[in-house]
Symmetry: C3
Subunit: 155 residues, 3 copies
């Protein structure tokens, strides 16, 4: 999982959103293979995403941060650069669920899709946004990962 | 209407989803001008869509299949290659309606839009997904076809 | 704010949708810096959007018209040509709110995003669509403009 944050990368802010993802992954039975914090720089973000997806060892990459409307927010552009295929419905589901609770959730520009057999999903940056986003993903995320990774599913 | 299915094209699976579309079209008073089954191959899908749209005899193309996250699912990419203009709201409406009943509907990567005067909509592959999708389209599909084809509408 | 309308630009139709936006802006305390009516021509639309955004004097551009499925509707394509970054959730929120009241709202192909520090949002063409759209935007629009323009926000 990748946290995108200038302050986080500079060691000036604790990665509470990343912690929330790791705690959630533990409860869900996902193994967190790798975790990193990078600044809001397109190349740094895209590099991590591509390397992890292409390693063959990561079924799912969740990012947090950098999806908003400020000049520094570049996570969607970095993600677009590395995705093979877009899955717009995953991003729509995140925003529709988040927007019901907090209208600002509609402002997330996050993308989702696949690179090879890896699912990549951009979550919002705030711990609350991460928690809402993970709840929205839960009903279909296992299925998405199984389809993309080629695993057989009963569905 | 176009069914995208490796098994269907090989004659190894009955086209239940295509049958559901044809039955629906009959109830709605649409004439099914042409029906075909192709494998999950981008060029084959795109070729059919372009030929039908460019024939001037087809107001609406509904596809079923190939919108998911497995490595073989290529219908959205083939559709993107032939669309002149995207109509993202049609795809959003399909997923929002489907996702309320079955969370996996958010995983459909289907697109919609126009090529010339023809409306093209990607429906999911399962008969249930087709049925839910057609229900979601009904309130605005006639209007969409009329606008795209240049017919005068009262609206 | 920009009204896109062949009839409006020819002086053959009053700009009721533009009037609705101006009235709304007044109630919200926005200053309308510039207002114009252009025909449904991609270059004319894109030219206005780019010039206004690049002037440094416009925080928000709202367009009305040209987002439908007829052959003349080109506002989304013109908008795509000038946006630096897409904000798909703003367009999704508009359609989700509009579609609940009027199914035809799903047919709007409108986009939203930023060019530099300016937020650009495509609203539907009808006065009713504009009113519904502005209501849907209200909960997050100030926040969007503040983020894009670099203003500090408490959020």
């Amino acid at each position: 999982m990748l946290t995108v944050s200038d302050l986080g990368a500079a060691g000036r802010r604790a990665d509470a959103s990343g912690d929330a993802i790791v705690a959630w992954a533990g409860r869900r039975g996902y193994e967190v293979v790798v975790r990193s914090v990078v600044p809001d720089e397109t190349d740094r973000i895209a590099g991590k995403l591509a390397r992890w997806a292409d390693s063959g060892e990561v079924d799912l990459v969740l990012t947090t941060g950098g999806t908003g409307l400020t000049a520094r927010d570049r996570t969607p552009e970095a993600t677009a650069a590395v995705l093979d295929r877009r899955a717009p419905g995953i991003a729509e589901a995140l925003r529709a669920a988040g927007g019901r609770r907090l209208p600002g959730a509609w402002l997330s520009r996050g993308l989702a899709g696949t690179r090879g057999a890896t699912v990549i999903v951009n979550l919002p940056g705030s711990p609350g946004g991460v928690t809402d986003g993970l709840s929205a993903l839960e009903p279909f995320l296992d299925h998405a990962v199984a389809l993309a990774s080629g695993a057989r599913t009963a569905h």
